[in-house]
């Protein structure tokens, strides 16, 4: 049906077919158009990125200048104390930093923004399978954001049990008293985010399975689509567990159930707890979602980077199928490695060994992908524009993040480095170093398609330069802090003599972080500026092969003006069959075209 639909208004080839009939509200606010929704997601998450960054700077400040007046915050909240923050405020800072960054930035910007915008365009559909559901998935972000911010403004300004919010700390209101109501808001917020991305994932799966353009076989899909597809599956299977766990925790807090609270604990002089719950249960449930979530936060970036690298290198992707398989492998293994977050938690030691093995194995597909990316660049014709730089940065940083992961996968070593800054370094290299650089690249790469203009190269390079330096300056020393045994989430590590001499290093890291933070203003400015003053471009500024480049930029309502038919894979760059160094998926080469015979549309 969907295809028929798309045909119907492609017929009177008016890209802006329905544009005029729509009011501003229904066109730009409560729009059901996947592109608008995608851009809405993008802008929202970029703003959230700044919020999360500000929180991070707060943390860094305390670590660099412990108990000294914190700018702004000190005046606003702690003027009586000479601006020195309170310890529970610090716990709030890192808790909310993680929360905002994970639930309001990375997950929605990957799946929400780019998933929405790219999927229909890249598979040649006119829109998502369920446009209204799609719109809802965006508008469910806002209650979530509201909840998180409500938790800022309730007593103790914010949830303070860490983003993992381990019970009993998170389950007994008196245990982290500073976050009494805030923790409830936080849990509700997380649940709502879950609802939002669940709507998304259902939509993506349906769309990708049912609405591919004629000839777009599974193995002709760009890796971005594969990544989105697999991510959607991951979310669909993992999320319910977190949601259930979240409800159990809320019940523990508000209804007096004891899923996670063992008997006889005396916290803050309250009556001893009753009822034999099991704190480890939460950890199992939580990580059963949150480990796959790590890949939810990584795979789409991998996919997009693969596309961008192939395009930058003017060269077919090296080992398309191995890439697909390894992504599938990551997804599969991702479900059976959650235990490696719990090596020191006192769970059955036998589990430690199995989880170690499975975790080691999940490093394998990642390695394969890395080699393939390098292989892709190998022998290509590359030019250092912003997209290339960010993509290469992705690879190089992902290598660091991936390798440091091996230390933690090894249980005995993990005994020592668990919950130290080594972990912090590791996941910041993966999430910031890899994912975020991938995202920056993607923003630059698909911006022309979104707004019909290119982002400014100069600003882009400046942004990349400072961000890359700042990021490494901030996160690399964390490895050493970890090896030195500096535990996470310490408001004042220098209390402990064996860490005193790390103050200068922390200050260096903080300055790097500030640099990095400032650099993001460049991105925002560039983004806003180029929308109006950027260099105008046509349909295919990057000389790329994907279907989305056959649509006008920006694509009108309904995306394509002619029904795209797909004749080959997305990476036929520098094909000997044609003069120019790219070959659109839709371009029909009359026989003798050795490329591939035209297939009938599967679901005609």
């Amino acid at each position: 049906m969907s295809v028929a639909h798309s045909v119907s208004h492609d017929a009177h080839g008016d890209a802006h077919g329905h544009g005029h009939e729509q009011s501003f509200i229904s066109k730009y606010v409560f729009s059901t158009d996947h592109k608008v929704i995608g851009i809405q997601f993008l802008v929202t998450t970029l703003l959230m990125l700044m919020v999360g960054g500000a929180l991070a700077l707060g943390v860094r400040w305390q670590l660099a200048f412990p108990w000294e007046s914190m700018p702004l915050v000190g005046r606003l909240l702690f003027s009586g104390e000479g601006g020195q923050i309170s310890p529970e405020f610090y716990t709030m800072l890192f808790t909310m930093h993680a929360t905002v960054m994970i639930f309001l930035v990375i997950i929605p910007i990957l799946a929400g923004a780019f998933g929405n915008f790219l999927i229909p365009l890249m598979i040649g559909a006119d829109d998502m399978a369920f446009p209204v559901l799609n719109m809802l998935s965006y508008w469910f972000m806002w209650p979530a954001i509201f909840c998180f911010f409500a938790s800022f403004f309730s007593a103790g300004n914010g949830a303070a049990a860490g983003w993992t919010s381990y019970p009993v700390l998170s389950a007994l209101p008196q245990a982290a008293p500073a976050s009494g109501m805030a923790q409830n808001w936080w849990l509700v917020g997380v649940t709502l985010v879950g609802v939002s991305s669940m709507m998304g994932s259902v939509n993506y799966m349906t769309t990708i399975i049912n609405m591919r353009a004629p000839g777009m076989t599974l193995f002709r899909m760009p890796l971005t689509i594969w990544a989105m597809f697999i991510t959607a599956i991951l979310q669909a299977f993992a999320l319910p567990v977190l949601t259930a766990a979240g409800f159990m925790l809320v019940a523990d807090r508000l209804l007096g159930t004891c899923f996670f609270i063992p008997a006889g604990l005396v916290v803050n002089n309250a009556d001893p707890t009753v009822g034999g719950g099991q704190p480890l249960l939460w950890q199992h449930l939580f990580w059963f979602y949150s480990h796959p979530a790590v890949y939810i936060m990584l795979l789409p970036a991998m996919g997009m980077v693969s596309d961008m690298l192939a395009n930058a290198a003017r060269k077919p992707l090296f080992g398309y199928k191995p890439m697909v398989y390894s992504m599938a492998a990551i997804a599969g293994l991702g479900f059976i490695v959650w235990g490696h977050h719990m090596f020191t938690s006192g769970m059955n030691p036998a589990l430690g060994m199995t989880f170690m093995t499975s975790t080691m194995m999940i490093a394998l597909p990642s390695a394969i992908k890395t080699f393939n990316w390098i292989g892709t660049i190998w022998g290509g014709k590359i030019e250092f524009n912003t997209v290339t730089l960010n993509s290469v940065a992705f690879v190089s940083m992902f290598v660091v993040g991936g390798l440091s992961g091996i230390f933690m996968a090894a249980v005995p070593v993990d005994i020592y480095i668990h919950d130290t800054y080594f972990i912090v370094a590791h996941f910041h290299y993966v999430l910031f170093g890899a994912t975020l650089f991938g995202l920056f690249g993607a923003i630059f790469f698909w911006y022309p398609k979104m707004f019909g203009r290119k982002m400014n190269e100069g600003l882009g390079k400046a942004h990349f330069f400072f961000t890359f330096l700042g990021a490494n300056g901030t996160f690399f020393p964390m490895h050493l802090l970890g090896v030195a045994g500096m535990p996470r989430r310490y408001a004042d590590p220098y209390l402990h003599p064996y860490l005193e001499h790390f103050l200068p290093m922390n200050q260096f890291m903080t300055y790097s972080a500030i640099l990095m933070g400032c650099a993001q203003f460049l991105l925002l400015f560039n983004f806003a500026y180029s929308m109006f003053y950027g260099e105008k471009v046509g349909r295919n500024p990057w000389k790329a092969n994907g279907l989305e480049w056959t649509a006008p930029s920006p694509p009108g309502h309904g995306n394509f003006d002619v029904l795209p038919v797909c004749y080959r894979g997305p990476y036929e760059y520098s094909s000997p069959l044609v003069e120019e160094d790219f070959l659109l998926q839709t371009e029909y080469l009359s026989p003798p075209d050795k490329a591939e015979p035209v297939k009938e549309p599967e679901h005609a």
């Binding site: 412990p66 108990w67 000294e68 007046s69 700018p71 702004l72 000190g74 005046r75 702690f78 003027s79 009586g80 104390e81 000479g82 601006g83 020195q84 309170s86 310890p87 529970e88 405020f89 103790g156 008196q174 008293p177 500073a178 006889g264 005396v266 803050n268 002089n269 309250a270 009556d271 001893p272 009753v274 004042d492 400015f525 003053y533």
Partner: protein, 509 residues
Amino acid sequence: MSIRRKSNILFVLACGFLLAGCDAFSPPDAEFVVREETDQLTSDVSKAVEEELESSFGNPHQLVAWLKLPVDFGGVTGATEESTLEGPLNKFPVKFDPEADDKFVAQFQADDGGFNFGESGARLDWMTGEYAGKSMHVIGYDSESQQLTTKEKVEVPPAAGDTFVLSAGETLKSGRALYMEHCLHCHGVSGDGNGPTAQYLNPRPRDYRLGQFKFKATKPAEKVRQEDLGRVIKYGIPGTYMPSFLLLADEDLHAIVEYVRWLSMRGELEYRVDQELVLASGLTNEIIAERKSDGDEDAEIQEEVDEAVAYMPTMFDELGDQLAESWLLAEEEESLIVPAVARVEDSFESRARGRKFFLEKCTNCHGHKGRGNGSMTEDFQKDEETGELYAEPGLFDIWGNSIKPRNLTKGLYRGGRRPVDLYHRLYGGIGPSKMPNFATTDPKILWDTVNYVLHIPFEKPGEYTEVDKEYFESKKKSGGDEDKAAEQEATPTESEQTATGSTESSDQG
């Protein structure tokens, strides 16, 4: 619109933001809070009080070391020696007080053996002699001739025997820094037990400003000793959020103790002054308004107000003296509680005697099984300030916090678990709470009670049935008929045999 102009605008905006930011970014000043009693005083008087406080104690950024107070403010003390030097000079021989000597070395000797006083020199305040109250700056020291070199040249050298303090207030300063780092977020800048974190804690952090502390080894009426505070900081208070600071270096511990005592004296002085001005002189807005309505003429009142204001320095001086005296006394030998006899051998008999004493004296609050659920915890108590009954039943301490008598079945002893600690609690009572002292009781009996109390957590059901029976018999004979319920509770039933205290509500206060 060219990009150059746009970027210029942005440039200007950025600079503006920074300038605006600089104020918001510049650190605010920490403040000592003012008692509400002080606020209720009529404006002139309260202003006078605050000024006097400022001049005697300063604020968190300019501390004042009021030498009247028995606090070790730190610094190296010494006196000048007979000197042969003549005329305008900035060198004079000195002799440091005994233990001050190594303090001096520790503070100023550089690694190369020379002495380093910083580029602006170390401050030297004259205590006596013609330069008393003046200060100079030491820039050098010669260890052979033991001569200090000052920046300032003086015509007349200070007379021999003039005493001075070098870099006074070091201890107070470091105490302040350490306090801000370790203690502030619960106990608050001014030690009012109301820091940012305090609101979440149970029991609430101690408010030093009454000069009263719970766990001390001194006689009932006496103040707390440095050593007592030191113990509390070092070992923490089990059952509360006061953690153990065992790892603090001794000098840091000392500095914190001194700073806490200083804060405590500051608060107590303000409190006493307010008491005087309210009760004796009645200079609160409320009373004055009343008097005006009763027709006292303003002139008369104004006169009193002026008197009070003019009198303020003297009042601070006198009350300060009293304060100093009482805090000094606490450190004296005779203020310390020393058991008159050695601990009585811990035996069943001893514990039985203790149990008897416990039944007589302690059950109202601690309950017949020592679970802290005595009858007093159900009665409504009277608020000493207002004379009204408290809203909810139970006991209240002098800070107005609801407190529960200790649940002794838990084996948690906040003041320390050594026998001597419990002896101190019994002999000295816990003044700020309702725990009375038994200074007049036979020390042997107290030791019996200590033995009994220490053994409560391990008491077997029915262990003291005999003692209890006997006790209640005797009560009945003397006509007491109230304690049916108590007796029921005290003498174990079948269910009691198995019941444990584990599900008891834990203790507070």
